[in-house]
């Protein structure tokens, strides 16, 4: 009788265990970090309050590094400005240049929360819908692509990091213009893989990889990193290991990229897809 009772108890325990594990798997598949942000805005607001409070402390200890990075960026911008000054002084009378409207607008933002040690890393920024942030905007720094806006709260927004195994972007080899897909494999936060590079493409270790501008999320020509190594993928293409310029572990100041033509671009892509 006792034996029968213990078998029954064990069976019930096993059923409850399987049910809870099933429920956990279901919740994980349904409530990824991104969906979670949408569903639990209240909880996230409390979290962001805490993160906001602690970010000042973290920034204090990394001020030196931030200053150096800003200094470098400033020098680069001044040099760029000089080039444009020379350019515009030559063609100032050209009506086409005077009517020139830059395709992208940039909104500076600060990182409130950042992960690099998970397979699905995300970043929280201190800008939200109150600042004109919308979903699918790109996030960049002078050193590369950071990710794209997945969901937006009033004062904060959630970025799917480039260091998310499900995030892919199109990139090109700067020298040859050959394009491929960049994807993180979940291993080293300073390296990504550029795949689908045709076997006949010529490249060298150290060559620079930049954004392609195919997606309308990221501007064309942002330097992402350099080729570290290569390996053949099935004999038909190369998989290149790219050493990123961006150090995600020290990410503080970013730019959110607003492309006013993004919706038009998306509509065209959707039309193209429906034709197929």
């Amino acid at each position: 009788m006792n034996r029968r009772k213990s078998i029954n108890t064990a069976l019930v325990s096993l059923v409850v265990f399987l049910l809870i594990e099933g429920l956990s798997a279901f919740l994980i598949s349904r409530n990824g970090a991104m969906q979670q942000y949408k569903l639990m805005t209240g909880i996230r607001n409390i979290q962001t309050l805490i993160w906001d409070g602690t970010k000042d402390i973290r920034y204090f200890f990394s001020l030196k590094q931030t200053n150096e990075s800003l200094e470098q960026e400033n020098i680069r911008l001044v040099q760029e400005l000089e080039k444009y000054k020379i350019f515009t002084s030559r063609y100032i009378s050209d009506s086409l240049i005077q009517a020139y409207n830059p395709e992208f607008e940039y909104i500076p933002a600060t990182v409130v929360k950042n992960n690099t040690n998970r397979r699905h890393n995300y970043i929280v920024l201190d800008k939200g819908s109150d600042d004109g942030i919308k979903t699918d905007m790109g996030v960049i720094t002078p050193s590369g692509v950071v990710g794209y806006i997945q969901s937006v709260g009033r004062k904060h927004s959630l970025v799917v990091s480039l260091l998310d195994v499900d995030n892919t972007i199109t990139a090109i080899l700067k020298k040859s213009g050959t394009f491929g897909t960049i994807n993180w494999d979940g291993k080293n936060p300073s390296e990504v893989t550029l795949s689908e590079i045709p076997i006949h493409t010529s490249f060298a270790i150290g060559d620079t990889v930049t954004t392609s501008g195919f997606s309308a999320i990221y501007p064309k020509g942002i330097d992402l990193g350099t080729i570290k190594s290569s390996k053949s993928a099935g004999g038909t293409s190369f998989d290149l290991t790219i050493s990123l310029f961006e150090d995600f572990s020290t990410l503080h100041h970013v730019y959110i990229v607003d492309n006013p033509n993004n919706i038009e671009f998306k509509n065209l892509i959707n039309k193209g897809d429906s034709l197929q």
């Binding site: 019930v12 409850v16 956990s24 598949s29 690099t116 040690n117 397979r119």
Partner: protein, 168 residues
């Protein structure tokens, strides 16, 4: 009643420490320090597997909400620990020992059995955690390193807590 209140405080403190560790301590992609299984491992013997599992699930959900944001990850892994807890205890301790004492204790178990108890439980935790995170074990090499590193480091820290928990 006083003891129960202290145990609740102890559990809450471990959950808060876990949230701080996950949110603000970055040890790279291979190492994650986990302390919450300790709450389940030191539960009194009278807690049945089912009640332990339900408690583990609730604690796991709390940690998930404030850390990974993926609900079910820690919850599922902690539930697995609760599922094997009684089986492990029955395997390493005799019935008389369990009747005489209220809850697992290093002094009563002996260091060898305590290490086995903690190491096995953490192995179960990390295997389930990695499995749920990847819906499998691929990439195999990295996941093995994560499981082994996490199990060894977390077990060692928990052993220290486990040794001192009776004193608290």
């Amino acid at each position: 009643m006083n003891i129960d209140f202290r145990k609740v405080l102890y559990a809450v403190a471990l959950i808060v420490i876990q949230c701080i560790l996950d949110n603000f301590v970055d040890l790279g992609i291979y190492v994650r320090i986990v302390l919450i299984p300790c709450i389940i491992l030191v539960l009194p013997y009278r807690y049945s597997t089912i009640s332990s599992m339900l408690l583990a699930f609730i604690i796991g959900v709390c940690v998930d909400i404030f850390t990974t944001g993926i609900i079910g990850l820690n919850a599922g892994a902690l539930t697995a620990v609760a599922f094997v807890r009684q089986k492990l205890l029955h395997a390493i301790l005799d019935e008389r020992n369990m009747e005489r004492h209220d809850s697992p204790d290093v002094k009563v178990m002996g260091m060898g059995k305590a290490v086995f108890y903690l190491f096995s439980s953490y192995l179960v935790f990390f295997c389930t955690y990695i499995f749920l995170d990847n819906f499998g074990f691929r990439p195999f090499g990295i996941n093995i390193i994560k499981i082994v590193a996490g199990t060894i480091i977390s077990s060692a820290i928990t052993l220290w807590i486990f040794k001192n928990h009776k004193k608290a």
